[in-house]
Amino acid sequence: AQSVSQHNHHVILSEAASLELGCNYSYGGTVNLFWYVQYPGQHLQLLLKYFSGDPLVKGIKGFEAEFIKSKFSFNLRKPSVQWSDTAEYFCAVKIGSGNTGKLIFGQGTTLQVKP
């Protein structure tokens, strides 16, 4: 069955530290890839997405992610985190080409940034 795996469940960083959150998926066909963020008490919102083209995509708030097809990975990065980045982060994969509709999420990573 298709799945999305996030390796880090809870990450604690100091401000200005660099961030990398791992995401791997299991599906051999066409995928579209997303990272979502959920700030405390708020809805899930999109950070960035990859559909095609340049495998390095940039999102809001200085986040970026790189799609490495051979590794089935889509890791999220930020060079210098801020206290306001404290949130839960979810990797998501839309399975298949065309309008298959199936969108699955990883387990989430809680990021705590210490001021």
């Binding site: 579209n32 309008n99 999420f105």
Partner: protein, 114 residues
């Protein structure tokens, strides 16, 4: 602009009672619709998704069912709730007809089965 409404926000139900959670989307047509359950440490578990009226795909065999009686309405139901059905349920939509879209989420329903 598009909006998604999900209700109720919180619900406390006794074991064995029925359940009906409703989700509606405004401002778009033929959306893809989703029901997820969010649990700490388990992320968002896809329960059901639908690409059109009457078309429901079930991901997890369980005590729940979903229906899509109208284009922009998605209902999550149970005939008899179990304690294990407690959780946070999220409805979401994405633009139909293409994979080049993101999902937008409702506010969620906190269900407690007692």
């Amino acid at each position: 602009s598009q909006t998604i409404h999900q209700w109720p926000a919180t619900l406390v139900q006794p074991v064995g009672s029925p359940l009906s959670l409703e989700c509606t989307v405004e401002g778009t047509s033929n959306p893809n619709l989703y029901w997820y359950r969010q649990a700490a440490g388990r992320g968002l578990q896809l329960l059901f998704y639908s690409v059109g009226i009457g078309q429901i795909s079930s991901e997890v065999p369980q005590n729940l069912s979903a229906s899509r009686p109208q284009d922009r309405q998605f209902i999550l139901s149970s005939k008899k709730l179990l304690l294990s059905d407690s959780g946070f349920y999220l409805c979401a939509w994405s633009r139909g007809g293409s994979t080049d879209t993101e999902a937008f989420f409702g506010q969620g329903t906190r269900l407690t089965v007692v």
